[in-house]
Symmetry: C2
DNA sequence: TGTAAATGTCAAGTTTTATTTACATTTTAT
DNA sequence: ATAAAATGTAAATAAAACTTGACATTTACA
């Protein structure tokens, strides 16, 4: 699962730690998701989408589309 | 996490077993998600959205919106 | 150049979700 | 009314998300 978190963070001038803080997860979780090590839970995906004011599909792209 | 799976199944005349089959999970998993017992993984949410040609947000509604 | 902030990574452990199996209840249709 | 199909539910296990802590590397910038 690819994603645009790094770009969205840059656009919003946020660090991984800040994003982790705002979504209530650890910095390592944000880093791992950003690097594609695993997928976020659906609730976390919703939080991220809401925070950046985007659709989940605009942030995350399923490989097998 | 609420969802519209039951309605979407009805609109597409599908059983839980058929939906399970098409998304590669067990019928009980579909049933549990449909009844709100737990949330699908993000990949499964993508599969369901793709199958019904909807956005994830159109199928699933996070309670704390 | 040095140093602090940010990012990357890894291992071990906890929590949550998915899957399986099995059975009970409800719905549908004959 | 009865049989079959569909749905509901629960316990046990597997798998994945997430945490914690620690340390290494990279980036920014004084």
């Amino acid at each position: 699962m690819k994603n645009k978190l790094k770009v969205l963070r840059a656009e919003n001038d946020m660090t991984q730690a800040q994003l982790a803080d705002e979504t209530g997860v650890s910095r390592q979780t944000i880093n791992a998701i950003e690097k594609g090590k695993f997928d976020p839970s659906l609730p976390l995906a919703f939080k991220l989408a809401r925070l950046f004011n985007r659709k989940i599909e605009d942030i995350f792209q399923d490989e097998n589309d």
